[in-house]
Symmetry: C2
Subunit: 221 residues, 2 copies
């Protein structure tokens, strides 16, 4: 039940003064297909409340998966659809053991070495591999060296060859979303392109159109 086409990762600070659930509601109305709740600076109790608030917003659209960043405990408590972890979070194998076989598990990689580790995990560990950053982004200053479209193409091909879903993240906006999708990913993750947009619904609509344009540019998809 994961449609990675347009994958929103929330950012509490970039959403301000609007609240995250309000931005999520607008983004889903505009065409977002998956929502990851991320707030590394929130306490666990705040993150639980935020996740529940986003879950309430998504209740009428069960086809939009709810993913929790890092916080496996919060995902288990809320019954979220999945968890996404990065290189500094709990290791994917341990997370899979905790969440069971049915929930979705995503994992971020930023270079071929990290991808090789991800693809060497036992079958069934990962559902999705996030690759990035596509280009430099102020949202995540600690992200690795930008991949560029060539890097996205290379990593996406390897993920797809392994039978996993792949999304790109980091510096994606309406200007480059089509090209990123044409490079071979199943969808694009955005943070600031929606959370910091004056009109998140309109931003999501434009991004969705860009993704569809990118897809038609890829033969056989």
């Amino acid at each position: 039940v994961l449609d990675p086409t347009l994958y929103l990762v929330t950012d509490t600070a970039l959403s301000a003064p609007r609240r995250v659930p309000e931005v999520v509601a607008a983004a889903v109305a505009g065409g977002v297909t998956c929502v990851q709740v991320r707030d590394k600076s929130a306490s666990r109790r705040e993150l639980l409340a935020l996740t529940r608030a986003v879950q309430a917003v998504l209740a009428p659209t069960p086809h939009v998966a709810l993913i929790v960043n890092d916080a496996v405990d919060v995902a288990l408590i809320t019954g979220a659809d999945g968890v996404h972890v990065g290189q500094d979070d709990l290791p994917p194998a341990e997370v899979r053991a905790l969440i069971g076989p049915d929930r979705l598990l995503g994992f971020s990689v930023s270079d071929p070495e990290e991808l090789a580790v991800a693809l060497a995990l036992p079958a069934g560990t990962l559902d999705l591999v996030g690759i990035g950053p596509v280009r430099g982004t102020p949202t995540k200053p600690d992200a690795g060296r930008p991949l560029g479209l060539g890097g996205v193409r290379e990593l996406a091909a390897a993920v797809r060859a392994a039978g996993l879903t792949t999304v790109a993240i980091g510096g994606i906006d309406t200007g480059n979303a089509a090209d990123v999708v044409a490079a071979g990913v199943d969808g694009v993750c955005v943070v600031s392109a929606i959370c910091a947009a004056a009109d998140p619904a309109a931003a999501a609509r434009e991004l969705r159109q860009a993704v569809e344009r990118g897809r038609t540019a890829v033969p056989g998809r």
Copy 2:
């Protein structure tokens, strides 16, 4: 299997340049009866590694319980003996549902209102209530107003009347540990008194002696 007599809460920065597992080993040799791994600034992956390292140190002393601060996911992955949560962490009822009936669950309160909320939880939710700070402490600048010995006496009596174990925390050292125990708690939590000590084993020995002195000062215990 929780002996709260002398309860060490680890602090990575205060332990430096020594590593936390090394300090824990010395502290247990000196008489610590329970160890809580706490590192709010560690990534989840770092916290997992730290917890496993402390667990390895505690393997020869199974009577010394291993408790994980806040990170329920890490506690579940490592099979720790329990979890301790504060007011900003996941709510105790949700944590109890996640960890099952057998693991230990502790909860921090800093005033009579927070304690009333804790004692209103369903029976079986909590095993231990931590009360504090006893006095001002640089370790946790965001802790509430110091309770003093009178506050400790009042809150400890309420916790014990509810049939739960109680420990005091915050500014406890060899100079006041006996008085704190005489005020009615089952044990004392220390952070800097051991982690920042030149000789953690000696510090633990002295604290343990102080606790025993405090116990003999309480009639009928």
